[in-house]
Each structure stands twice: as structure tokens, then as C-alpha cells.
Amino acid sequence: MATNSGAQRHRLLNFLATVIVISSGLVTLIGLLSDDGSTAADTARFLIQLVTVIAAVAVLAGLVNLVAVHLGRFVRAERGWPYSVFVLVVALVVGVLRILDRAEVWSGDLEGEQISVRVFESVQVSLESALAALLVFFLVFAAYRLMRDRVTVWNALFSLTVIVVLVGWVPFEDMDVLRDVRDWVVRVPASAGMRGLLIGVGLGTLTVGVRVLIGQDRSFRD
């Protein structure tokens, strides 16, 4: 009996979720395709603003999740738990610094400074830049591994293109031909391929969008 009422409640909630999703989706779609200033456009803008507010709240939920995940790793002494402790300590320190910034407690040389922003820029941006510099090595090694593991026409073409483009960037004298080839590769086949991918992604989102709009997406159906 209790199971039946639970299932009925579950079905009712799913039905309500489906109705809300379909109506919000249709209203937003119609609003976005309507002229500015119309009621439909204003309603769509309101719904989008609502999402922005929810996004701001979701950051807090994300922070709680971050703390829960790393606290859990620390408590269970999972592999790599010292890193989790470090994450928690840094999160706490940055949070406290931000509060102190807002309270404008700094004096002397630091007066008016945003220390949390300075910490972010000096640590986070530097680390990200260092990681970005490593990426090129990862990619070149991945291209080498691709040719070592699976030699196909497409993989060979990919590797050849990588070599031509990379060498084309080297500022050697009398290398105009290679530079022209590089420019052509970037302008014509690479650009065409990129557009092809983006058109494919666009069509894919359209079919998923249709499934959502007719209430058949699993996210709110089950």
C-alpha cells in the first residue's frame, strides 16, 4: 500500500516536472524568437534571469560539495588525503581573505588592496600558465602515440598536418612555401572541418532539444 502511494507520488512529481519543463522551454523558445519588447520576449528574459539567480545559489551548493568531497577523503584517509587537507585549508584561507578584503581591514602599504585577488592572480594564474605550457608536450606525445598504436590513413594525415603546421610557425628564412601551406591548411581544411563539427553539434542539440520539448528526456521522465 505504502509502495503504491510512493509510486503514485513519484509519478505525479514526474508529471509536474514534465509540464514545467515543456511550458518553460516553449515560452523561452517563443520569447527568444520574438521581437524585443513583446510580452513573450520579456517572459523569456525573466526566465533566463531566474536561471542566473539559481546559478549564483548553485555556486554555494558547489562549495558545500567541494568541502564534503574533500572532508570525506580526509576522514576516510583515502589515497591522496593530504591534498584534500590542503584544498580545505586553502579554501578557508581564501574565504577569510575575501571577508577581510570586504571589511577593508588592511592598513599601511596594503590599504585599499584586494589581497584575495592578488593571491588568486599570483598563485592560480601562474599555475595555470605553467600547466598550459605543458599541454603542447602532451599533445605532441599523444600524436606520436597515435602513430605508434594505430597507423591509419587518417592518423597519418593528422600527424603530417601537425608537423607541417608546427614547422610552418618556425621563422626560418626561405620557408615561404611551408608558411603558405600552413596558412592554407588553417584557412581551408581546418576551418571547414571546424565548421562541420559545429554544424553537427548544432543539429545534435536540436534533436535533443526536440526530445526535451516533447517531454521525452530521461532527466525528468524517470
Binding site: 524568437l33 548553485a58 560539495n65 591522496g80 599555475l127 595555470e128 597515435l146 545534435g204 532539444g209
Partner: protein, 246 residues
């Protein structure tokens, strides 16, 4: 035809084709072209269950409420279909992401999979982990890669929106001898996926996951709709090119 009219036409064609293909599917068997990643994914899930290891799913910076909303939904569909199979194991799949709005989607997707298997005792909401995104998403990639490396992960499945930071996640997966299936709806991420992954999903292939992983007739109809739309676009491009040349 302006953009508004074009959008309505495309939506109408997609809807009509999806419904028509759904009816056709019930009367005759339609065959979809094979996609290697969708053949490998269930095998990897089975291997992970047998070896009592986890699978790491990453949704990257796919975000509900932004232009990558449908990528997030498409990726969540794959997570659900595979988590359904993984939910028989004690090892909860790991889901990492960098957009806070996608966190409830990821947690709910895992919860539904465990509920379906009636194994809520092993569901943990912290199995979905959010990492704040830095200026280039690299801090997210570094954090997610480190978490996956520590968690006895059997395979990494990267789906949704990734830029070049995917190389960091991919390199870590390969270095730790994990399988790697990857996709991105951004060209730079897609290039990295092609070069690093054991099997890459290209462009629109993410959005037909439901059809390939035990899909319903309607979801299989979506694949036909996508094919029809793709051929319409190809014809449109050819006609426009011929017109421009004449």
C-alpha cells in the same frame, strides 16, 4: 528566410522526423551506423564492475542554462545509462564537473541509476565532485585528474564541453593505464579527443547516446532525424556552392 523562420523549420523537421522514425521503428528494423565508442562503453562498464574499480565521468564545463545545456543533458544520458550497469557494484562512479549548475544534474543522474537498481545503500552524493573553474579550466582538469588517479579508476569518460584542458585529463588517464573515451562540443577539445582517446565521439555523436545504449523507439527516431537534417544541410551547402559558382 530569416533566422527565426529557419529555427522553426529545423525544429519542425526534427520533430516530424523523430516521430516518423519512431513509427517506422515499430514496423521495420532500422539500422544505425556503428559508433565504436558506444560498443566499447558497455564493455568498459562490465569490466569495471568485474574488477571492482570505478569509472570516472567528467562533464567538463557543460552548464545548464548556458549554450552547453544540451551537451550537459546528452552527457548526463550517457552517465545514466552506464551508471545503471555500474550501480550493481559497491564502487560508485565518479563524476567531475566545473559548473555548479550541473552538479545537481550529475547527483540526480547517479541517484536515479542507483534507485533503479534498488541499491541506494551504495549511493553517495559526494561521488559527483565540483571543481571551481580557473581562467583556463586547467585547475579543474588538474583537480579532476588527480581525484581520478587516486580513486582506482578503470576508465575515464570525458563528455560535454572541454577545451585544451582535456589534454591534461587525457594524459593523466593514459599515464595511469585507464581507458579513455572522449568528446567535446568545442573544436579544440575535439582535436585533443581525437588524438588522445581510445575511442572518440565526434561532434553530434554524443547526442544520440540514448539510441545506442538500449534506446527507446523515440530515441532511435532522433538518430534518423539527425541524419535527415545532416543530409539537408549537406544538400543546402552544395546547392549554395553551385549557385555561387554559376
Amino acid at each position: 528566410m530569416n533566422n527565426t523562420e529557419l529555427t522553426w523549420v529545423l525544429l519542425a523537421v526534427a520533430l516530424a522526423q523523430t516521430l516518423a522514425a519512431r513509427i517506422l521503428w515499430r514496423r521495420a528494423r532500422l539500422y544505425h551506423r556503428p559508433i565504436a565508442a558506444y560498443r566499447v562503453l558497455p564493455e568498459q562498464a562490465a569490466d569495471a564492475v568485474e574488477s571492482s574499480n570505478r569509472i570516472h565521468f567528467s562533464l567538463g564545463s557543460s552548464a545548464l542554462g548556458e549554450s552547453s545545456s544540451l551537451s550537459a543533458l546528452g552527457a548526463a544520458e550517457v552517465v545514466y545509462r552506464l551508471s545503471e550497469r555500474l550501480a550493481v557494484s559497491r564502487q560508485t562512479p565518479l563524476v567531475t564537473l566545473s559548473q555548479p549548475l550541473t552538479l545537481p544534474l550529475a547527483q540526480d543522474t547517479l541517484r536515479r541509476a542507483y534507485e533503479f537498481r534498488q541499491n541506494m545503500a551504495h549511493y553517495r552524493s559526494s561521488a559527483a565532485a565540483w571543481y571551481p573553474q580557473g581562467a583556463r579550466s586547467l585547475s579543474f582538469a588538474a583537480g579532476a585528474a588527480s581525484l581520478a588517479a587516486d580513486a582506482d579508476v578503470h576508465s575515464s569518460v570525458l563528455l560535454g564541453r572541454f577545451g585544451v584542458e582535456m589534454a591534461l585529463l587525457g594524459e593523466s588517464a593514459l599515464r595511469h593505464d585507464q581507458g579513455l573515451i572522449a568528446h567535446s562540443d568545442l573544436p579544440e577539445g575535439q582535436a585533443v579527443a581525437f588524438v588522445q582517446a581510445d575511442e572518440a565521439l565526434l561532434g553530434e555523436e554524443l547526442y544520440v547516446a540514448a539510441a545506442y545504449l538500449n534506446g527507446s523507439p523515440l530515441e532511435r527516431g532522433g538518430v534518423v532525424a539527425l541524419d535527415v537534417l545532416r543530409w539537408l544541410v549537406i544538400l543546402g551547402i552544395i546547392v549554395a556552392a553551385v549557385q555561387a559558382a554559376v
